[in-house]
């Protein structure tokens, strides 16, 4: 009897308190709704309006679309494979068509697990409508207030839209990773097909991604994505969308991914640089939401040649250095190619693999150019000191006193001294002691002035060694500056896009190619002639050995420590700078522990690229200014050759009309 009374008392207690709690819950629920309503976001009508953000597009010089920024391709439910619809319903919310925005039992269970159970787990119970509400209006902070607001908005979504409209909006805005938002885009990105054509294994794989687009990114974690896909297939079977045997059959299939790797990043160093310039010019809103059309300078054919050349060049470098495929550290590379006639950037590579490192070494990595800086010194000496390519200087040990610091004693790369020689030979063989004597005469400030005139913007230290390339510069700057030599002294500002239009085709910006004469043409021609012999017989002769036979000029650059290997060179129409080296301070040494020079490391990449880039373009030589004539000269005496003295091959040098051989026998 006592037992019965106790049970009855408990029953009575539970019943009345239950009633009180339900009443209080209802009252506070109503109070919360009224209190929160003013803070809830307004819903757009129709809901699909949210997908109508115009996309900005970047076109290559041949009209090909390089990238669509902010792209969403909305499709109706009828244009999506039934497999995918079933898969997403089974995975995310199999009772979608039965609830009114909230799955009460799952919510109660979720609340119990989160609040009462000792597991410490937070169990989610979001329906598709709730997820849609969250994605459209709320941040991802986990608070009860946010959750409640999300719930209320989902009730409104349900009240004002049909289930089909909700589902269509949902599948068009969910993120699948790899830069794909919406099912149509995802189907294109991962499988290169329309959402309508997705097979069951493909649809299940896609439906599994929204849970964690990064962790299940099939481009990177294919096995994890397959495991997740199998879970989706099991859920589809449990929900009755497919049979068990269909699920098992689908699990045996491995969907073939589209070959091109993709993600939310641009995948291109050039596009990164371009977008960053556009943002600094117009702001993020215009670039990402303005629906602008940008006509870029890049030539997709040249870019592809550049990628091939860089890949091959760096693989050769790996082999030369004995670096295995799985080694932790590989040398990096950068390449910039500029159309000399306009300044348009035609190709840009900022590193070995964009997806491993987005750091754009072409525009942001400042490295010592080594002897690649000597042309600025030579031009300055020709201009300011009245030197010409046949001026004689002596390759000898040089000690240059430096105020307040130790004397500067530059050494030759070969560690030997060969005595008197003409300047053309000195540049061809990249003799440091002669460069040092010249910079002592002209002063580092004059060399820096020349470099600045040609477009070098990085900080340059006003010390003698600046002439031997001890101040850091970028490959972009080197290509810009050497372009000035290619045009015999005419500067064209480098640029990345020709035109920007708004969504209606109205021109917002247009690049006008302006020429500015910054260097004397005949002096520049003399320099270019000297740089031609660098490629023909000097430190860059590997280029000829690789089959590049056009008229071209350039200069290798290798830093003392072999940390950097450069080659920057040009034809009259195209100027290209190539850098190779490690990101960190590490020497480029081959398997015999011999340092890798610009001629061995960077020049082959340059040659491979230029051969393909110039293809069947007509061959052109640099135009000879009217006041320039050519003379043969003995490389040791600087005078007209008298027979074959000491087996020395004479050189041909360009002289201006007011210059003559042997006038100043020795400077």
């Amino acid at each position: 009897m006592n037992f019965f009374l106790r049970v009855a008392a408990v029953f009575r207690f539970c019943f009345f308190w239950g009633l009180i709690l339900i009443s209080l819950g209802s009252l506070s629920g109503m109070f919360l709704v009224f209190a929160m309503v003013k803070d809830l976001p307004k819903l757009p009508a129709p809901l699909s309006k949210i997908i109508e953000t115009p996309q900005s597009q970047v076109y290559a010089s041949n009209g090909q679309v390089l990238i669509s920024i902010g792209e969403r391709q909305a499709v109706s439910l009828g244009m999506v494979s039934k497999n995918f619809i079933n898969a997403i319903l089974a995975t995310e919310d199999h009772l979608f068509f039965e609830h009114r925005g909230v799955n009460k039992l799952r919510t109660l269970k979720g609340l119990y697990v989160t609040l009462v159970s000792q597991s410490g787990k937070v169990e989610g119970a979001s329906t598709i409508t709730q997820q849609l509400a969250k994605n459209l209006f709320f941040s991802f902070e986990k608070t009860y207030a946010r959750k409640l607001k999300e719930l209320l908005v989902s009730l409104q979504i349900e009240a004002s839209n049909t289930k089909e409209e909700i589902l269509q909006t949902y599948i068009n805005q969910i993120h699948f990773g790899a830069g794909a938002q919406g099912v149509e885009k995802a189907a294109q990105v991962f499988f290169g097909k329309s959402a309508l054509d997705l097979t069951l294994p493909e649809a299940a794989l896609l439906a599994g991604l929204p849970k964690s687009p990064t962790n299940y990114n099939p481009f990177r974690h294919y096995d994890l994505a397959l495991k997740r896909r199998d879970i989706v297939l099991n859920r589809m079977a449990q929900a009755g969308f497919i049979s068990e045997s269909e699920a098992q059959a689908a699990m045996l299939k491995k969907p073939e991914l589209r070959h091109e790797q993709s993600d939310s990043r641009t995948g291109s160093y050039f596009l990164d640089a371009l977008i960053s310039e556009l943002i600094s010019k117009y702001g993020e809103d215009v670039v990402y939401h303005g629906g602008i059309k940008v006509y870029a300078t890049i030539d997709t054919k040249l870019q592809s040649y550049a990628q091939q050349a860089m890949k091959k060049g760096l693989e050769n470098l790996d082999n030369m250095m004995g670096i295995g495929e799985n080694a932790p550290d590989h040398p990096q590379g950068a390449l910039v190619a500029i159309d000399t006639g306009s300044g348009a950037v035609k190709a840009m590579i900022g590193g070995r693999d964009y997806y491993e490192s987005e750091f754009n070494r072409a525009t942001k990595s400042r490295r010592q150019p080594g002897s690649g800086f000597k042309p600025f010194l030579y031009y300055t000496a020709l201009k300011d000191l009245g030197f010409h390519p046949a001026t004689i200087l002596t390759d000898k040990p040089v000690i240059i006193p430096v105020k307040g610091a130790a004397d500067w004693e530059p050494k030759n790369f070969s560690k030997t001294f060969t005595g008197p020689m003409i300047l053309k030979k000195a540049l061809t063989e990249s003799v440091n002691t002669i460069a040092a004597q010249m910079v002592e005469k002209v002063g580092p400030d004059a060399v820096i002035r020349t470099a600045r005139t040609c477009g070098i913007e990085s900080p340059l230290q006003a010390v003698y060694s600046v002439a031997l390339g001890t101040s850091n510069v970028t490959p972009y700057e080197m290509a810009t500056a050497y372009s000035v030599f290619a045009t015999l002294g005419v500067m064209h500002e480098p640029f990345l896009f020709w035109r920007v239009e708004d969504a209606y085709g109205r021109i917002i910006f247009e690049h006008i190619v302006q020429e500015k004469r910054v260097l004397d043409p005949s002096t520049t021609y003399q320099l270019v002639d000297m740089m031609k012999s660098v490629i023909d017989i000097g430190s860059g002769k590997s280029i000829r050995a690789l089959g590049f036979n056009r008229a071209a000029a350039g200069k290798t650059g290798t830093t003392d420590s072999f940390n950097d290997a450069w080659f920057t060179g040009f034809t009259p129409t195209l100027c290209t700078s190539v850098w190779t080296g490690f990101d960190k301070e590490k020497k480029l040494l081959d398997s015999h522990n011999i340092g890798i020079t610009g001629g061995r490391g960077a020049a082959p990449i340059w040659a491979e690229f230029m051969i393909n880039a110039l293809g069947s373009d007509p061959e052109r030589d640099f135009p000879i200014p009217d006041n320039v004539h050519f003379e043969k000269v003995d490389t040791e005496t600087g005078c007209a050759p008298e027979g074959q003295r000491g087996g020395r091959e004479p050189m041909t040098v360009p002289l201006k009309t007011d210059q003559q051989l042997c006038r100043d026998k020795q400077q």
Binding site: F15, V33, F137, E158, E510
Partner: protein, 291 residues
């Protein structure tokens, strides 16, 4: 009421109390309330409908609205650029002179000019002064012979730059027009008040009108038109010419001649241009007359 309450003492009393009409009614009501909600989702429907009714009054906040605002901002910004350009274009197209064109362009602003418009601006200038802008022969080549695509004008500090651009967007000819120069070019045929002896550049080359015209009229008849390329301004000016000066510098093959008129409101000087070689011939005559 609670004072009279007592705990039931027997099982039957408990039974009666539990299954009283009130309790059963309350239980039924609660059960119907809970189960009808689970069955018909009326709570969600009521709240959803209420929220729909308040939708218009609620703020446009949240990620999707932010994106919308960014799109609106972007379009507004782009429209500002476009309408500004359109204003500039309309003002530039209305310009009847280079100085009007100049005043329609602030530094950094640009506009594309029709070939025809540039031609008419150029032709509105006096023949000898238009040379200062661009040689007619070169202009003819640019407009009618070269692969000129468009003419692009950009405002710079204190003037404008005119770029003649080919179809590759390359500048094939660039002219810089400073404000002062344009005003001078456009007002070249307008008289200024003053006397020649106060004008820099004429010293030592100022002659009495009689002497000047005697020497001029001694020249062969075919030379005289080259000495006074545009004599309209001289013919328009009222008063008597008392002195004539020859400028000490030739510009674009022309030498400036200053004619000082005696007038009631003060002396006025009218400038003309003479071809360099014709002025040189005249100078020889003047030297001869002086000797």
């Amino acid at each position: 009421m609670a004072r009279y309450w007592y705990e039931p003492l027997t099982f039957s009393e408990w039974f009666k109390r539990i299954f009283s009409f009130l309790n059963i009614a309350l239980f039924m009501f609660t059960a119907v309330f809970v189960f009808s909600e689970f069955r018909f989702d009326w709570f969600e429907k009521i709240v959803g409908s209420y929220l729909v009714s308040t939708n218009a009054l609620r703020p446009e906040i949240g990620a999707v609205w932010e994106t919308g605002k960014q799109t609106t901002n972007a379009h507004e910004y782009l429209n500002t650029i476009v309408s500004k350009k359109e204003d500039i274009r309309q003002n530039a197209n209305k310009a009847g002179s280079f100085s009007e064109l100049l005043s329609s362009l602030l530094p950094g602003e640009w506009v594309t000019l029709e070939k025809q418009q540039f031609k008419s601006l150029y032709l509105s200038l006096e023949k000898s002064t238009s040379l200062k802008i661009i040689d007619p022969a070169r202009l003819v080549w640019l407009l009618n012979g070269s692969n000129l695509d468009r003419i692009f004008c950009e405002g710079i500090k204190g003037g404008i730059k005119v770029f003649f651009i080919d179809s590759d967007n390359k500048v094939i000819k660039e002219i810089e027009l400073r404000k002062g120069d344009i005003i001078e070019i456009e007002n070249a045929d307008k008289p200024i008040t003053g006397i020649l002896t106060d004008m820099a550049g004429f010293q030592g080359r100022i002659y009495p009108a009689q002497l000047f015209f005697d020497a001029l009229l001694k020249l062969p008849a075919e030379i005289i038109p080259d000495l006074m390329v545009d004599p309209d301004a001289l013919l328009r000016q009222e008063g008597k010419i008392i002195r004539v000066g020859i400028f000490n510098e030739a510009v674009n093959g022309y030498i400036k001649l200053g004619f000082e008129f005696e007038a009631s409101g003060g002396n006025q000087i009218v400038f003309l241009k003479g071809r360099e070689w014709a002025v040189w011939q005249l100078s020889l005559n003047l030297k001869g007359a002086g000797n």
